[in-house]
């Protein structure tokens, strides 16, 4: 089976000289299409750095990240931006919705930026999936935290990206909303055969993944298939 994501010898060092900090120390792994991977680690372990590098919002010191056959560090900045909008969906702990746009518009954001016609059927389907059909015209401030996170999941799904990256997607939610969000992510994984990488330190999420990657001090400590 072909890998949708291939990370090779990925190294990230912050700062220079004696005060430099090695955040990632030559990490390598592969993710197959349709896989649900959980990356687990304590805070400061390098898992967020890894996520930023895969998402193309930060540049590595060494190594490569290949998504769907493209070495993303070989792209220039605007090529990277266009690649990101079409191939990567990012979900943050703090939703990161634009407060002045409605739920619907926030979901459509990657398409609007692409100057592509909004696909009404796709939008309807996503709104149904995330269960916000009746709230499409609401502003983020009129939605609960769980609902806002569902909007950001919708935004990540809109372009059928090659991979979805979720950074502590439930870190800011109560247990009920957390469960809903996880169920939704799993659903998209199954329903759209969506590749999903979730960064978390919540064991309840991690055990639901197909595979768990445990990171510590910038190195992969363990890489194991989930025991389901």
């Amino acid at each position: 089976m072909m890998s949708i994501l291939q990370v090779k010898d990925l190294t990230k060092i912050y700062g220079e000289g004696p005060t430099s900090v090695v955040a990632l120390n030559g990490v390598s792994f592969r993710v197959d299409k349709g896989e649900f991977l959980a990356i687990v680690g304590a805070s400061g372990s390098g898992k967020s750095t890894l996520m930023h590098l895969i998402g193309g919002v930060d540049r590595a010191t060494a190594g490569s990240v290949t998504i769907d056959g493209h070495d993303i560090f070989k792209l220039n900045e605007s090529e990277m931006a266009i690649f990101r909008r079409r191939n990567i969906g990012i979900i943050y702990q703090f939703y990161n919705l634009i407060p002045t746009l409605t739920a619907e518009e926030n979901i459509m954001l990657p398409r609007l930026i692409d100057n592509r016609k909004p696909d009404a059927d796709k939008l309807r389907s996503i709104l149904e999936t995330i269960g916000l059909s009746d709230r499409a015209k609401h502003l983020p401030s009129e939605l609960s935290g769980g609902q806002q996170q569902r909007v950001s999941i919708g935004r990540a799904l809109i372009n059928d990206p090659a991979i979805i990256l979720a950074d502590e997607p439930t870190g800011n939610l109560d247990s009920r909303s957390s469960r809903e969000v996880i169920d939704l992510l799993k659903l998209s994984n199954k329903k759209y055969h969506q590749t999903l990488i979730v960064i978390t330190h919540d064991e309840n999420i991690a055990i639901q993944a197909d595979r768990i990657l445990i990171i510590s001090d910038g190195n992969i400590l363990r890489d194991e298939e989930a025991s389901q």
Binding site: G55, V57, A81, R86, N96, I98, L109, L112, I113
Partner: protein
């Protein structure tokens, strides 16, 4: 609508205060550009009306356009500096938004575009408003200019009746709108590029531009102003950017006000220089024709001149007083008949230093004043009427053009020998002395030179009659007829006469000066206003961006009073800082301006204290009021909500 445009529009709609201030700034700048274009056009039309179209018309028009361009450049420069602050603040507020956009794949170009769109939308509101306001300014400026031009014509100062017509043209509108728009886009350009260059990762974390440095504050600050003071000093030091925008705009205003203040002081000084004797509204002058005859060996043989005696002078005074019983005083002098060599021991050190009396005999100037004035001066000098009084003052201008007034002689009661030119020598005894500040200004209007002695009576080759009559024009007419009756070869007093209506002339000068000042202050005032719009919007945006900080401070138990105290101190610090930059720069500019004007007139440089005081009071009150107003609005927000909502 494009997404980038839509986001720009919603930023404009949500940040109303900021938007209003920026629109105001843009409108003011475009109003000034419109008014400048309009005034250039109407001046050009006025020239065409008065002078007609000729081969010089293109050259004159080009000169006018050049002047307009100089002003436009100043307006554009000030506007770009100031308005770009507004865009910078707005862009830094949107940092998070840009981060989100970047993380979902927006390009640099799209981010920059969104900032530029803000400029476009603000221009759409601001520029039309500005053009309308600019026309009103043009109309007002023209009416002020015409008012004084009309007066100049009516009071015979100008031979031609020149008035500015109110003129507009499509090209002028097009130019004003285009230049204004370019100004706005120029202002948005750098902030847009900066916003585009923020790394997506920093933007999402909303660190953006704000680089937090570890700021140390002195223990003294903490001791003097408490914890709040230390906190205020820290926030000013840490978020330099936010405060720098405020400080830059305030500094510009200070410099502008100082320069205008210095300019007006210099103009007034120039007018005072032209009219040194205050209170005098008109004067009449008799002066004798002077004929020098030279012998074969080209040595001076004889000087032929006429004189007016004390009796005739007093008679004319009495005649002049008949005009509504006004006060008339008289001063006469004889600076032809005698020369004198003052003895060495009589000279002061200063006189020796200048070396003015080192080259042999000097003129002995004998002066007389009307009877009443003479008695008064004798009393001032403490000598009986009939005495000769030394007028102990000298005005000296060095080769470098530096003028000084000093005391030339050590007075002692003594007798001097005066050498007569074509007249017998005579001896004169100095009985008393008057120093510079005791001598009436009228007596010094002949100049201050050589050796001046006030005598009871003499034959004067020059005589001045002064009045402080209110109706100076009427008096001047009357005085002319009196002069005509008394002066002339056929009337037994050969000589020339001249009557001057000082008050009217002075008024004319002041009218011109006043009109010039109106335009200078108008120009500077509007530029300063543009700067103020930026001060207000940057302060309030800065405070809004710090809502969370305030909420956190309150949640750990800082009182509203404490926050207010902190903000007060912050406004004091930023005011003080802008004064620190603005006052020296302003003074320097003022000195430069004075150096330029000194080429035309001998004026002393004075620090424009009034402008300085105005700046100090103005700056402190503006920042304080703005801070308080902005703070009172942020205080209304719910504490927990704020902390939560902004939580990152």
């Amino acid at each position: 609508m494009k997404l980038t445009a839509k986001l720009a529009l919603s930023q404009i709609k949500t940040q109303k205060g900021h938007t209003i201030m920026t629109v105001l700034g843009i409108a003011l700048s475009s109003a000034m550009l419109t008014a400048t274009a309009g005034l250039v056009l109407s001046t050009q039309r006025a020239f065409e009306i008065v002078l007609g179209r000729d081969s010089y018309t293109p050259a004159r028009t080009a000169a006018l356009i050049a002047v307009g361009c100089v002003f436009a450049t100043m307006i554009i420069a000030a506007s770009v500096i100031v308005v770009s602050n507004a865009f910078r603040m707005s862009a830094s507020e949107r940092t998070r938004q840009f981060g989100i956009l970047k993380s979902v794949g927006a390009t640099k170009k799209q981010i920059a575009e969104s900032v530029i769109y803000e400029g476009v939308f603000l221009s759409v509101i601001g520029i039309p408003l500005g053009v309308i306001a600019g026309l009103l300014v043009e109309l007002f400026g023209i009416s002020v200019a015409n008012n004084s031009l009309g007066y100049m014509y009516e009071s015979n100062a100008f031979a031609i009746d020149i008035r500015l017509p109110f003129a507009v043209s499509p090209l002028m509108f097009l130019l004003a709108v285009a230049v204004s728009f370019v100004t706005v886009i120029l202002s948005a350009w750098r902030p847009a590029r900066k916003a585009a260059n923020i790394a997506a990762i920093d933007a999402v974390r909303a660190k953006g531009e704000v680089k937090i440095k570890n700021a140390r504050t002195s223990k003294l600050t903490a001791k003097l102003f408490g914890f709040e003071g230390a906190l205020a000093a820290k926030s000013v030091k840490r978020s330099r950017r936010g405060f720098r925008a405020t400080v830059v705009s305030l500094t510009i205003s200070i410099v502008l006000v100082m320069v205008a203040g210095a300019f007006s002081a210099a103009m007034n000084a120039t007018i005072r220089l032209a009219f040194p004797v205050s209170g005098i509204t008109a004067f009449a002058q008799f002066s004798s024709p002077i004929e020098y005859t030279y012998g074969d060996d080209s040595e001076l043989e004889n000087i032929n001149y006429s004189t007016i005696d004390a009796h005739t002078a007093e008679k004319i005074i009495a005649k002049l007083r008949e005009y509504n019983g006004v006060r008339v005083s008289g001063v006469g002098m004889n600076n032809i008949t005698y020369t004198v060599t003052p003895p060495e021991e009589m000279m002061t050190d200063k006189t020796r230093q200048t070396g003015i009396l080192a080259h042999g005999p000097t003129r002995a100037i004998l002066m007389m004043v009307d009877g009443g004035a003479y008695a008064g001066l004798c009393e001032k000098a403490g000598v009986p009427v009939g005495s000769n009084i030394l007028l102990n003052t000298l005005r000296f201008t060095s080769d470098r053009g530096k003028t000084s007034v000093f005391t030339p002689y050590n007075f002692a009661k003594q007798t001097l020998t005066l050498t007569g030119n074509g007249a017998p020598d005579t001896e004169i005894t100095l009985d008393g002395v008057l120093s510079s500040d005791e001598i009436p200004a009228e007596m010094l209007s002949f100049g201050q030179a050589a050796l001046m002695i006030l005598v009871p009576r003499t034959d004067a080759n020059v005589y001045h009659w002064y009045t402080n009559a209110k109706d100076s024009t009427g008096f001047a007419e009357y005085a002319k007829s009196v002069m005509a009756e008394n002066i002339g070869s056929d009337k037994g007093l050969p000589g020339y006469y001249h009557v001057s209506d000082i008050a009217t002339f002075k008024l004319q000068q002041e009218t011109i000066a006043g009109t010039v000042m109106f335009f200078v202050y108008g120009f500077v005032g509007m530029l300063a206003l543009i700067a103020l719009t930026s001060v207000i919007s940057t302060i309030s945006t800065n405070l809004r961006a710090r809502r969370r900080e305030f909420a956190v401070l309150r949640s750990v138990g800082m009182t509203s009073d404490g926050i207010r105290k902190m903000l007060n101190l912050e406004s004091v610090i930023s005011s003080a800082r802008s004064l620190l930059y603005g006052l020296p720069i302003g003074l320097l500019c003022a000195y430069g301006l004075y150096s330029g004007m000194r080429l035309a007139a001998e004026i002393p440089f004075r620090v424009p204290w009034l402008a300085v005081a105005g700046c100090v009071v103005g700056i402190f009150s503006i920042t304080w009021v703005t801070m308080r107003f902005a703070a009172s609005r942020t205080r209304k927000s719910n504490l927990i909500e704020t902390i939560r909502r902004e939580g990152v």
